[in-house]
């Protein structure tokens, strides 16, 4: 599984959506139910999957699919 496939699977699992729903509009304002529990569930799964530890500010930044990719780039995760 490639890194982008891993990331997509995490998003799909946490938000119970199809991969086709993941685009630049997928964020905490447009996705119903994107609350702190979902966000922290997301970051926790990402940390486990990519074996990284996100800084607090990066966890707070994890508010959209695009932001997730930007944050992961900071940790040298090539998507």
């Amino acid at each position: 599984m490639t890194n982008i496939e891993k990331l997509n699977k995490i998003f799909c699992d946490v938000f119970s959506v199809e991969e086709s729903a993941l685009n630049s509009e997928f964020n905490n304002c447009t996705v119903e139910g994107w609350d702190s529990v979902h966000q922290l569930s997301l970051t926790s799964a990402v940390e486990d999957e990519f074996d990284i530890m996100l800084d607090a500010e990066d966890i707070l930044e994890f508010t959209s699919y695009d932001n997730a990719k930007t944050v992961l780039a900071k940790y040298d995760i090539n998507l």
Partner: protein, 352 residues
């Protein structure tokens, strides 16, 4: 720097009482089955004990206190200090500690104080009472730490309801010239106070029928009025994973403590996400970091004595322990305590 070394004070006993009303996440009205499963696996709080509307924190603490005093064989006349650490006192005035002095039949010579310091309640209580006992002019203190936090907020607030459980703990401190010193450091970040607060009901914004009860829908299952306690999950999370680990590390360096010469790390059981991250950040071994949040939820200030009672009863009673205790919450405040115990009497948790 707010930092203390309390000499001549020993922890003699601890116990706790919870309402006999266990509630699983899936039983909460605000959750669908799917919500409850995600909450359980992410936040880790599978169960909590919730007080009915006619049970106060003082009732739970009273039960714990009566049992502990009897278990230790303490004469009530020998108790000099009574601390009640809670944000859910019986009344706005008078202090609940004065009511408990009478209820418990303690002498009128008892010094009483309420400490509404939230999740750091145990550290504040030990710090204040410990410093009072240290000189030896008073010998015994009863610390009652508890909350009915479930009653503070809106039952329609999904960001808050499932997190908290209710409990009342009692701890007994005594002057003892042979006791190991208790080290405590405390910190405050007042600029973050809005992360955990009850907007109306104090004198800044007294309760008014015009606006204090008006519910607002904040989305994602969060409906509450200004009279209800609120929690800004992401702000609290960010604070809790950043500040406490620095404090723990500092205290461990100051006292030359390592993973090897500490028996247990008692981390305030805010939720699994926060505790896991502190554990991970400090590389603490899981076998030295007990969890009880799966059973009790976030108990506020009662969290640390509940870990002692629920997870460490046998060991506290049978051998000396070195514990590093970390608390963080309201204020925002946080701190670390290094507590070395000899044999401590631990009575089983009671459900009433």
């Amino acid at each position: 720097m707010a930092y203390w070394e309390i000499k001549n004070v020993a922890l003699r006993g601890v116990t706790g009482t919870v309402p006999n009303n266990p509630v699983k996440s899936a039983e909460l009205d605000i959750f669908t089955q799917e919500d409850a499963e995600l909450f359980d696996s992410t936040v880790g709080i599978l169960n909590r004990y919730l007080a009915p509307d006619d049970v106060c924190a003082s009732d739970l603490c009273y039960d714990a206190a009566e049992r502990l005093v009897a278990g230790l064989g303490w004469e009530k006349d020998s108790i000099d200090v009574l601390v009640f650490a809670s944000v859910t006192g019986d009344y706005k005035t008078p202090p609940t500690s004065s009511i408990l002095q009478d209820r418990l039949g303690l002498p009128t010579s008892t010094f009483v104080v309420d400490l509404p310091m939230g999740c750091c309640g145990t550290l504040y209580a030990i710090n204040m009472a410990g410093n009072m006992l240290s000189a030896g002019t008073v010998k015994r203190a009863l610390l009652l730490i508890g909350d009915t936090a479930s009653r503070m907020g809106s039952y329609k607030d999904k960001s808050r309801v499932p997190l908290f459980g209710d409990a009342g703990m009692a701890m007994a401190l005594e002057y003892d010239a042979t006791a190991e010193k208790i080290a405590i450091e405390m910190n405050t970040l007042g600029s973050g106070y809005k992360a955990l607060m009850t907007p109306h009901g104090g004198y800044r914004h007294p309760i008014t029928k015009e606006d204090s009860f008006v519910e607002e829908d904040f989305g994602n299952g969060i409906i509450r009025a200004p009279k209800d306690a609120l929690i800004n999950g992401m702000d609290v999370f960010s604070f809790a994973i950043t500040k406490p680990p620095v404090s723990i590390k500092k205290m461990m360096e100051r006292y030359e403590l390592t993973i090897d010469n500490v028996d247990y790390f008692l981390i305030h059981q805010a939720n699994k996400l926060i505790v896991d991250r502190i554990v991970k950040k400090l590389k603490l071994p899981l076998e030295k970091t007990p969890y009880d949040l799966q059973e009790f939820g976030n108990l506020g200030g009662a969290s640390i004595p509940m870990l002692m009672t629920y997870n460490l009863a046998d060991e506290l009673q049978s051998r000396p322990l070195t514990m590093v205790c970390s608390a963080f919450g309201l204020g925002l405040t946080w701190g670390t305590m290094v507590l070395k115990t000899q044999r401590v009497r631990v009575l089983p948790i009671n459900k009433i």
